[in-house]
């Protein structure tokens, strides 16, 4: 039954995070309006948003944890589980699918040993599927960290993740 008992921690937001969030709050009529920005700020610092961090943000914005979690889980670029240093976002929408993104997913899996939703043991990469990155004319498309890769093929993958590369 122990898993039914919510863990209570007094996780705090850091000074930097608080300052950044408060700067956003200054621009809006309701504190809750900055929910998305606050989540992004915290994620930028910590890589992802843990339950504790989420509760701390919710307290600061005077929202319930549920309200904020509804927002956090709506967006697929707010990570509610730990991710690797770099996130591989592999588009699997129509254009990229036509151009063979399935093979690319397999390619990444072969090279890094992780399937969609998984993180490499060295915490370097997390592979996530994503819908349309807005570069359909150069499909298939993939993002690694902040970097966008177009017309991706086996070579691209090898260059990025092949032995000796990653």
């Amino acid at each position: 039954m122990s898993e039914l008992i919510p863990v209570c921690t007094d996780e705090q937001l850091s000074e930097t995070e608080l300052a950044a969030i408060d700067a956003e709050i200054a621009h809006v009529p309701y504190r809750a309006s900055v929910a998305i920005d606050a989540l992004k700020i915290v994620q930028a610092q910590r890589g992802w948003v843990s339950d504790d961090a989420l509760q701390a943000i919710a307290r600061h914005l005077k929202m319930s944890a549920e309200e904020l979690d509804g927002i956090a889980t709506f967006y697929n670029l707010i990570f509610r589980r730990p991710v690797g240093d770099k996130v591989i976002l592999l588009c699997d929408s129509i254009s990229c699918w036509i151009k063979g993104c399935d093979g690319l997913t397999q390619g990444v899996t072969d090279l890094l040993g992780v399937g969609p939703g998984e993180t490499t043991p060295d915490k370097a990469y997390t592979l996530l599927p994503i819908t349309c990155l807005g570069a359909c004319d150069k499909a298939p498309v993939m993002m690694v960290g902040e970097e966008l890769y177009e017309n991706v093929d086996e070579q691209t993958l090898h260059a990025l993740f092949g032995k000796g590369q990653a």
Partner: protein
Amino acid sequence: MATIHIDGRAYEAEAGENLLQTCLNLGLDLPYFCWHPAMGSIGACRQCAVVQFQNAEDQRGRIVMGCMTPVTEGAIFSLAGDKAQQFRQNIVESLMLNHPHDCPVCAEGGECHLQDMTVMVGHRDRHYRGRKNTHRNQYLGPLINHEMNRCITCYRCTRYYNDYAGGTDLAALASRDHVYFGRHQEGVLQSEFAGNLVEVCPTGVFTDKVLVHDYTRKWDLQSAPSVCVGCAVGCNTMPGERYGKLKRVHNRFNAEVNGYFLCDRGRFGAGFVNSKKNLLYPGLRQPEGTYDALDHHQALLHMQQACTTGKVAGIGSPRASVEANFLLRSLVGAENFSPGFSAHEQPLVMEVLQLQQHTAAVIPDIATIESADAVLILGEDVTNTAPRIALALRQSVRNKALAMAADMGLQPWQDAAIRNLAQDQRNPLYIASVADTPLDDVAEVAISLAPNEIARLGNAVARNIAGEVNELPDEPLRPQVEAIVTMLMSAQRPLIISGTGCGTGTVTAAAAQLANALCAEGKRAMLCLVVPEANSLGQAMLCDADAPDLDQLQHRATSGEFETLMVLENDLYRRGPRFQIDALLAAFNQVLVLDGMDNPTTSLATLALPAANFAESEGTIVSLEGRAQRYYPLFKPPAERRPSWVWLLACLKELTHKDVEALHHFDDITRACANAIPALSGITAAAPDHHFRNLGQKIPRQTHRNSGRTAIGANVSVHEPKQAVDEESPLAYSMEGLNRAPPGALLPFVWAPGWNSNQSLHRFQGEVGGPLKGGTAGVRMLLSGTPSPGVSNYPEKGEPPFLDMPQGLWLLVPRQQIFGSEELSALSPGLCELVEDAYIEICAADAKSLGVSAGDGIVVGDSLATLEVRINDDVAQSCAGFSVGLKGAENLEALHAVSLRPADNWRRRAPTPGSEEVIGSDRALNSEARTRGRARQRPARPQGTVPEGPHV
């Protein structure tokens, strides 16, 4: 009115109304999911699609959502057209992609709106061959079961829970086909109205957990029209029974009282009916303290003997029916009959009745409370004492939003648009109470004051409104007074709420004074006064103002006046400190107790008589708005249990009492009572008498499909039992009869062809969301807004002083709990897990000075109680809140001044994770749930005034 055309036929319809509601009003079957009559439309599910044509020439038309389309003159629609039908089928098919093939094991099955709609649209074959999503379910507390896989993402749950009921701990999580309705982390749902999710959710995601554990399908339930006995609001209910057990409680619509919703005390607090502690046989106490079981003949003999040896005193009960109380009063004589309140509470309730009888203000029903445009609450924590009123107040503060919408030309049903428009703009709600209340989050101002200071505030406002402003300059509460005066005077329909909850009549008198002052200024003011129990007001109506209270009865008994005491459905140990009740009972040679369940009082009885509870008997009770309502038995009581009125009438007959010669039926008693007691003359109209027939037939308690009628007892005997006969009411213990538009007071369940779920209710309403075709249940006995001639002012009570507690003393102020403060509901399975340990609540500074912290123990007074400390900075200064009615706090009395000291040898309560003892109330509260409450005011007091209350 507008003329519209649907599938080639012309109909008259209300212009501006949405088409879905219009179709249902016209008796047309248009499927829907997300629209709800009390919550309006958002167009989320796309199920109510129809084709709308531009004009008579338009042959193609376009798909529109019925619930989002206003009726306009000359509009042309098609429900039956292929395009619309196909669209609706596709919608259901898409909802079915992830919906499990669960019906046989789903608690919703047989009363599922999704099943009904699937059949209605004619969808049959599923083409999808992929995998279905599977979700992990959450523990949501002991009352509500969660089975997320069944969700069709209609969003009704979050709209109800957050938007309508003001909850914050249920959300729509994730996106796309992963949407999940649940909590951030597992835990007890915090809203006092969470149970309505069971009826609001059109599928089996949220179901009644207590029912799920001991399940019966709706079609096998025997149901009866009943009234909640959880508090004085008197919500209408439809409990369901099978195998002699109460299985669940559903809402019974009453347009003027509960509408579509109950509180969780009402929905989950009736399980005590099945208690193992129920008395089944009369028990005669033996010298060694054990009880011998008797049959009813022997018991009656003993009753008769007891009544003929010496004088008898009677103690009635505000939780027993008017009829039972009336009979006991007839038996012992009015001057020897105490209504059964505590000695402290009796004058309070009596006075509330007088105030209401003499007020010029409107006494609002619950629906009318929703219409208020400014609300002042004086002292009453309605969420915990009369919960349904709190839900109504949450709607009243939205009138501003509705007004804004009307200005913009929006219809009241355009829910999402209106909420967007108004954001957090609300009508003013001003709360003055002894500590924080769950309504604080929608209050404009919430202020913590000692009870008499609340009265002082009310009086000052009243005087100011009446134009006697002279005292204000020195008034320390002046800013508050001025704010309230402005608020009330700029309102059209101001509402004043108060009650017995904070333990002093000064507050209720101030509320009434204030309401009258508003009326004198030409306002259509409303006055709502809350009393504690289901029939408190009925009991006040039955008894004279000088009826003896418990203390007086004890004095007279001690002086040797009485031989015997007869107690009706009342655990006296909840009516005063133990030593006092011990003394009261010891003053009589014989104590006869009629009650349903074993309790400390029955355990001391010389003769205990098993009395049927509300689910096994018929009775009339009077709600806080003065509405007399009747509840009917759901099933026949087992063994030698009998309704109290039967025991008492039989006893009176044995005694050949002259008043009861002509009384045979329950209805005869009601009539006799109405004739004898002017204040109760209306009760006969509460419901039709037992001669009533619905188009010539009785009204069935069972559905057409009720199974096992002849075999249900086959494990005991293979002989088919005779159907039980109900001679006392127009209802039948059978599926035979007619449940078509019966009088509202006699509606046992809702069902209509094609509509198996509770959504079939609209077939029983004259208009969707409007009163029942058979009329609204109950009769109002307090005529609002008609003050008795010559009574305009109440006896002047003098200005209550500011609280000035000597160092080291605290004023005990009552803190009610929705789960636990009411005696019987607290014993119900599921709900009992939410009953917390008794506590004492003080502010951090006081805790520091006492050297205690939260969770420590504190001794109250001279060992009156040793309770857990809670720290709450919202408790009024120099006051200590105590949990009313919880085990361990029995000896504490409101408004006594007590000392506090840290308890030695206190063991802090710390449930070990994983231990079996962990129950719902041990789980950490969702600390975020109430973060939106406004900061409370806690004004400083002037020094040097006189202390109030007796010191202990």
